[in-house]
């Protein structure tokens, strides 16, 4: 452009010279004739631009400047958005991983299915479970027409020695067909073959999990070919699984072993799989193409019945009564299904997490919109001036929108950070058993969702001030004190009510979960789960005779009992809350027959004297075992259920109970309170106790220790004490009695944490919103208030004015929220633990707190209103 103009001037100059002027004169004339080059340049430049770039850049610069001018608002808005959008993304990320994403490295996962078994007992609901025996796998493999591959597998925890260290590893033992059913390829080396996976083959090969390989072998490819020592046997590492592969379960797996490893080192290691009736294995299969679910279920049920014929033992006590037919059900591998074919509690709670995250997002948007609205209302003057000076309404809308967009983008960037860190924290702390890789936290769908949220939020929050800007310039310039007195925008009030209502919903949810947690904590489990320690030593494969193992535990008991800081200790055969042994040889009176048939045989535990005091089980009647009774005295202690059911109406103490295939009957000497067998919530069951023999051919043992409070007895203390008895001990494992229940409690912990965090945040936002609104009102009505004060209104009246305003909004908001809770309560009912969703205490506490907070928030502006000096007020514009 410059060049063109220069050329023009030069030509004109030359023409002038030819016309006879001097060079200087010629040039001067030329320049004058051209007239104001700069002006032209500017004009041309303006027209030359792509029409919208320049104004847009201008808007951005202006927006940035004005945002910098109100840092408080900017910070609040950015943080609000970060939390709202970030939480929604994080929750969605977790849920999509749990419920939507198929297991990694499984080919065509929609054709892979998990097998379940369902039967209809005489009363009520069908019962579903997921475990059967190896014989079922063989039958399906040989005779199914709808599965092209099937495998049996189960998880075990084994101490593993990598040479450098001994660790407790989670291993999956799998039969032949496992890799084929899943269609997985190894990352390194190979996977074990069908021959190696036969239960009687005893092949000692292992496939490492990717994370395990990284952790213990540093990702070294030379790990393939090395050996692992498991239970005294050397396993050769033949390959490494691909990154993130964990079979079809959700928890991370450290090792894959052939199914023969299941009973390695046990007495029946070569024949356990032939035992029909031991329900220990899970099953996974791959459907043939174009096979429907009902067809597969029908086919597999037939296989089940055919294979059961003549093989399954008739259950004791059910002679003559046919067992209800069991059907095979087929379930997908996505959706976090547990062994009862329902999504696991974490997943169900998680679904709610997404819901409330969306709610929180709504609250965030409402808050941001209301804050921006407030700001726009305060800038009405400025906006009016601009409109009057000729800015087109569209330009104005674009300007306001740019501001919101800038804020939203900043909020969105912060939201990504929140999503990543928050998601990582939740995964690590609240869902530790469910495997995840840090890279899994942010994937395309989560990013896309975040982007969508950002755009949506920008539009929503940007609209609010724009709508507000539809104001007549003249009105505003006259200053709207007079006519703004009652007119806080309706839009704003609605937003406030929405915020409060949503806060109520979230906080009530938090309260309900908290109450559930509390209920769980105060459950009488019959055991002292917090303080009692449980110690086991894994002797499998160490080449010890069972009697030697039993003897070791006796010495351990003696040693631990005299440790300073140990109040009591005892031994038992089965570990409470983790295992149970069937004691079906007891012959109970006829009145107990019904319960025995329904639940199966009673369980038995063999314990040393002092066991009940150690684990905190109360003795209700009679007494504990005496030390001399360990020599197989014919005595018995039973639990309350057994006492009530077998001897209704009378005391069982002194009753002599016969046992199958035994000459003498055993006398009941005591009754103890009921204890939980495995789960927090379960039906009561029959349980009895016998004295633990000192010398035994059965070597299942556990050491139970009750430390004196505050004396600092830990797992390490116990471990060291045991090592004093024997220097080279295999793996010693100590944990609290209640540790087995932690996974069951976790869903409620998750719910409480998330609901509380979100609820508090939401309430905070609502309070900020209310405060801003009232402060604004006071400012707007300064004149009016000044007049009132001057005329003689009392302070109280002014306060009532402001407080009334705030209270009205708060009341409507909390009422709406309470109604919403009552309506939505139905859906959350089954997630709570013995708490009703309409629990009055929680509702009352939440509404009262919110109202109090609202009042507190209203007090400050109210007090400020009081201090308005009448004269200054009336001079205010």
């Amino acid at each position: 452009m410059e060049e063109e103009f220069r050329f023009h001037v030069e030509m004109e100059t030359e023409a002038n010279i030819r016309a006879g002027m001097s060079p200087e004169e010629a040039r001067r004339r030329a320049l004058i004739a051209f007239g104001g080059m700069e002006g032209h340049k500017e004009e041309l430049r303006r027209d030359r631009q792509v029409p919208w770039v320049e104004p847009a850049l201008q808007d951005v610069r202006y927006a940035a400047r004005s945002l910098r001018g109100s840092p408080g608002l900017t910070l609040t808005v950015v943080l609000t958005l970060a939390v709202g959008i970030g939480a929604a993304s994080a929750m969605y990320g977790i849920m999509s991983r749990l419920l939507l994403r198929p297991p990694p490295h499984v080919s065509s996962p929609e054709r892979v299915v998990k097998l379940f078994f369902q039967y209809q007992p005489s009363d009520g609901q069908p019962r579903t479970y997921a475990a059967r025996d190896y014989g079922f796998y063989e039958a399906v493999r040989d005779r199914s027409r709808t599965l092209q591959a099937v495998a049996a597998y189960t998880d075990i925890e084994v101490p593993v020695s990598t040479g450098a260290a001994a660790v407790l590893a989670r291993a999956t033992v799998a039969s032949a067909g496992f890799w084929r059913a899943l269609g997985t390829r190894p990352a390194l080396g190979r996977l074990f073959t069908d021959e190696e996976a036969h239960p009687a083959s005893g092949a000692e090969v292992a496939v490492l999990g990717h994370a395990f390989w990284r952790r213990h072998y540093g990702g070294d490819p030379a790990a393939v070919g090395r050996t692992l020592r498991i239970r005294g046997h050397s396993y050769e590492i033949v390959g490494v699984a691909p990154r993130g592969f964990r079979g079809i379960e959700l928890a991370d797996v450290d090792l894959w072993l052939p199914i023969s490893a299941y009973a390695e080192g046990e007495r029946d290691s070569l024949t356990w799989h032939e035992d029909r009736g031991g329900n220990l294995l899970s099953f996974v299969g791959r459907l043939r193409p174009r096979t429907s679910t009902p067809a597969a279920e029908g086919d597999l049920s037939q296989v089940l019945h055919a294979s059961d014929e003549g093989h399954r033992p008739v259950s004791s006590g059910a002679a003559g009564r046919p067992r209800p037919r069991t059907l095979v059900r087929v379930g997908p591998v996505v959706g976090a299904l547990g062994s009862d074919m329902q999504p696991i509690p974490e997943a169900r709670v998680g679904r709610w997490m997404v819901g409330i995250a969306v709610v929180l997002l709504g609250v965030s948007c409402a808050t941001v919109a209301s804050l921006l609205l407030l700001r726009a209302m305060r800038r009405r003057r400025e906006i009016g001036v601009r409109l009057a000076l000729g800015m087109s309404r569209r330009r104005l809308a674009a300007l306001l929108f740019t501001e919101s967009l800038l804020l939203t983008l900043m909020g969105g960037a912060a939201a990504l950070a929140v999503a990543v860190w928050g998601g990582a924290w939740i995964n690590r702390v609240l869902l530790p058993e469910l495997a995840w890789e840090p890279s899994e936290t942010l994937d395309i769908s989560v990013l896309a969702l975040t982007g969508l949220c950002i755009v949506g939020t920008a539009i929503l929050t940007g609209l609010a001030p724009v709508l507000q800007a539809r104001v007549e310039p003249a009105h505003v310039l006259r200053d709207g004190v007079q006519h703004a007195s009652q007119r806080r925008s309706h839009l704003y009030s609605v937003l406030l009510v929405a915020q409060l209502a949503l806060s109520v919903v979230l906080l009530v949810g938090a309260g309900l979960f908290l109450k559930s947690l509390h209920r769980i904590g105060t459950l009488d489990l019959g055991l002292d789960t917090e303080s009692v320690l449980v110690t086991t030593v894994d002797f499998t494969g160490a080449g010890r005779a069972p009697s030697e193992v039993a003897a070791f535990y006796e010495r351990a008991l003696e040693r631990v009992q005299v440790l300073p800081g140990v109040e009591r200790a005892s031994l038992a055969m089965t570990i409470p809350l983790r295992s149970a042994r069937g004691g079906g040889s007891i012959q109970l009176p006829e009145s107990a027959a019904g319960m025995v048939e329904e639940q199966g045989s009673p369980s038995v535990n063999y314990v040393t004297p002092g066991f009940f005091a150690t684990v905190g089980t109360r003795i209700v009647q009679g007494r504990d075992f005496l030390p001399h009774e360990r020599d197989d005295s014919p005595v018995l202690v039973i639990n309350e259920t057994m006492a009530r059911v077998a001897w209704p109406g009378g005391s069982p103490i002194g009753e002599c109970v016969p046992f199958r295939r035994q000459a003498t009957c055993r006398t009941v000497v005591g009754v103890v309170e009921n204890t939980r067998k495995f789960r927090l919530k379960e039906e009561e069951s029959l349980l009895y106790y016998r004295p633990l023999p000192e010398e035994d051919a059965d070597d299942d043992r556990v050491l139970l220790i009750r430390p004196a409070p505050g004396r600092g007895v830990t797992a390490g203390t116990i471990g060291r004490a045991l090592q004093e008895i024997e220097a080279a001990l295999p793996y010693v494992h100590t944990e609290t009695l209640g540790a087995a229940l932690d996974p069951q409690i976790r869903p409620w912990r998750l719910g409480t944490t998330v609901f509380t965090t979100f609820g508090v945040l939401s309430a905070l936002l609502a309070t900020v919103g209310l405060f801003s609104a009232l402060a604004y009102t006071v400012t707007q009505r300064t004149r009016e208030i000044g007049v009132r004060l001057a005329i003689g209104a009392r302070g109280r009246d002014v306060m009532r004015l402001v407080l009334g305003d705030g209270l009205r909004v708060a009341l409507i908001g909390t009422l709406t929220g309470t109604l919403a809770c009552l309506v939505a309560g139905r859906w959350i009912a089954d997630l709570l633990f013995e708490v009703s969703p309409a629990d009055p205490t929680v509702l009352l506490v939440v509404t009262a707190s919110l109202l109090l907070t609202a009042i507190a928030a209203s007090l400050v502006p109210a007090r400020r209103a009081l201090r308005i000096d009448a004269i200054t007020a009336m001079r205010t514009e």
Binding site: F7, F34, G36, E43, R48
Partner: protein, 110 residues
């Protein structure tokens, strides 16, 4: 008589430019000179309106521009009319004729 530089001319600069370019392609200064020359010095185009007019015409796709070496060996931007420009020229000329005829009629009314 001093050349016309009224407002009316302002609106018709584009028309004149199109006509001039329909005769031959040339650079900006040349267009101004040619108009002056053809109109026998009656019309002198204000430089300030010439270049904006050229830009508007180019935006509307009625002319195109190209950098070339001028007759005195300097780089200059040459403008050329496009087929669309020729059509527009015809339309604009027609409406100009109607306009001036109408004005004439009004002026001759007694």
């Amino acid at each position: 008589m001093a050349p016309h530089q009224s407002d009316v001319l302002r609106g018709s600069v584009e028309l004149l430019v199109l006509k001039t370019l329909s005769l031959a392609s040339m650079h900006g200064w040349g267009i101004g000179q040619r108009i002056q020359q053809i109109s026998r010095d009656e019309l002198e185009v204000n430089q300030g309106s010439l270049y904006p007019a050229l830009q508007r015409l180019e935006h509307r796709g009625l002319i195109t521009s190209d950098w070339k070496i001028s007759e005195n060996n300097r780089r200059a931007r040459y403008y050329k009319i496009t087929p669309a420009g020729l059509r527009a020229l015809g339309e604009e000329a027609e409406s100009w004729r109607r306009f001036s005829a109408a004005v004439d009629v009004v002026l001759h009314t007694t």
